[in-house]
Amino acid sequence: MKILVCISHVPDTTSKINFTEDDSKFDTNGVQFVINPNDEFGLTRAMWLKEKQSANVTVVNVGGAETEPTLRKALAIGADAAIRVNTPATESFSVAKQLANVVKDGEYDLVIAGRESIDYNGGMVPGMIAGLTNANFVNNCIGLEVDGNSATATREIDGGKETLSTSLPLIIGGQKGLVDESELRIPNMRGIMMARKKPLTIVEPIESNQETTSIKFEKPAAKGAVKLVSEDNLDELINLLHNEAKVI
């Protein structure tokens, strides 16, 4: 089984979010970049498939050379090979087209991407890859078993979950639940050493239109101070929620 895990290079969850160039670009100054958390769950799930079902795991990212440390980290966690599509990730549809091209070229059986990246929150790359490659697709996936050519996937739905049966080739929009938080892997020294020798292939992008364009960013208005209510005066809290906030 050939698995492709899509890795987004995103600011760490605790990063301060600022913008530069007239609020048109994310300010990377002082920001730590990590593997997108939703992708990390998928990467660990792929490692299990490698260990138990002899899968071969490639990781891929669309981005400039600055994203390579993130791919190396994925190699250190245990992926066999990495691919970087050499173009800035400017919008989801274009990224999906680049990734779909990698999927077709490599004839992958299973593609796991995070349900969304924690920076732009587009939430569309896995589904678009599925649409572009005409593969089966399960989004918000919280459980996945593969047996030969068939697969069983659990999807989180509003208010519960559902179990789906499907087959390879399959695209997964993954999230926490594919594996648990405690099961995520941290690269060890041996993994880091081995990662240096693993192939990281740079491929040039295919031509693609810009279907959407990011114009600028805005930060939410500063919030007013909290109104504190004494624990002996909860009637006042109910009064505020009813008459001032009008939410009860």
Binding site: T13, T14, I17, F19, P37, I118, D119, Y120, N121, G123, M124, P126, G127, A130, G131, L132, N136, N139, N140, T152, R155, E156, I157, D158, G159, G160, K161, E162, T163, L164, S165, T166, S167, Q175, K176, G177, N209, Q210, E211, T212, T213, K216, F217, E218, K219, P220, K223, V226, K227, L228, V229, E231, L234, D235, L237, I238, L241, A245, V247, I248
Partner: protein, 319 residues
């Protein structure tokens, strides 16, 4: 030319988001000087849509569509969009709509903006504002394609009533083949979901153990609220993962979010920031959540929450 809106339903009844996306579609249609067509699949009674600005309803009725299937549903929306020559297709941010929208975008070769919070600021170029960086910023984004797909963020645009009535038509959709089929659904039918809830009551590690969740559930019941929890609570197995709200959990965009015994880690705040009013109850006056909240009570949840339940019951009885 028209604006097409997919108004989704569950068991034949519109989901809460359906009327909000219809309201949004009407606002876009007004800007474009055109009409709104809604697509429904297996809905018992679609007449409510007329009150939210829909001019025409295309009803698809087919037993084979009782279980949601993203590929099949996306293809039906595509068929309706082409038959109506839709310029803009509006969908919600429900789990199902976020599942089908990227497939629809590929099918229609349409640019898709998700998590949109306002009516377009301009229709040429088509410019929308959306949530990004997990509610820590907004992105102004332009859709360049002929057909545009807008995913409306839950509870961001709200409802806009309109006088009018919608004409009803049956829409004969063809069903594409799909190799994904539903084996079983595990869903609590008696509880309001986090996605649909106006009020969410959420508990954190300050509650000390799963045995203390009775008061959270009781408070939620009094308020008709959904229950939720912080990441440590779901990691510890005190509550199911499906209740975890935050950056790697579910996003919350309710009118009222009540956080009990949650300190307010930045990842948690990011996931709940889209809620309109936030109340925090915590013993630690220095908890970061107080900086993000609208109302706060510094006090022990084990004394505050039971009192709050009693007072709310009395308040509700008066209403």
């Amino acid at each position: 030319m028209s604006v097409l809106v997919y108004t989704e339903s569950d068991q034949g009844v519109f989901k809460k988001a359906a009327l909000e996306v219809a309201s949004y579609a009407k606002a876009v249609a007004n800007q474009l000087g055109t009409t709104v067509t809604a697509l429904t699949i297996n809905v018992n009674d679609a007449s409510a849509l007329g009150n939210y600005g829909v001019d025409k309803v295309l009803n698809v009725s087919n037993n084979e569509l009782d279980a949601f299937n993203a590929k099949i549903y996306a293809d039906i929306i595509k068929q309706a969009s082409e038959s109506e020559s839709a310029q803009v297709v509006v969908v919600s941010s429900s789990a199902d709509s976020k599942y089908l929208a990227p497939l629809l975008a590929v099918g229609l070769n349409a640019g898709y903006a998700s998590n949109v919070i306002e009516a377009p600021s301009n229709t040429s170029p088509f410019t929308v504002k959306r949530n990004a960086f997990t509610n820590k910023a907004f992105e102004v984004s332009q859709i360049n394609t002929d057909v545009k797909i807008v995913g409306v963020s839950s509870n961001a645009f709200g409802l806009a009533e309109n006088t009018g009535s919608a004409s009803m038509e049956d829409f004969a959709a063809s069903i594409v083949e799909s190799n994904v089929s539903v084996e079983s659904v595990d869903k609590a039918t008696d509880k309001v979901t986090i996605a649909d809830a106006d009020v969410v009551v959420s508990g954190g590690r300050g509650l000390k153990g799963p045995e203390n969740w009775g008061m959270i559930e009781e408070l939620a019941e009094v308020l008709g609220a959904a229950t939720a929890c912080s990441k440590p609570v779901s990691d510890l197995g005190w509550r199911p993962h499906s209740e975890h709200v935050g950056q790697t959990g579910k996003p919350v965009a309710s009118n009222l979010y009540i956080a009990i015994g949650i300190s307010g880690a930045i990842q948690h705040l990011a996931g709940v920031n889209a809620s309109k009013v936030k109340v925090v109850i915590n013993t630690d006056a220095e908890a970061p959540f107080f900086k993000a909240a609208d109302y706060g009570v510094v006090g022990d949840a084990f004394t505050v929450v039971p009192q709050l339940i009693e007072k709310l019951k009395a308040f509700k009885a008066q209403q």
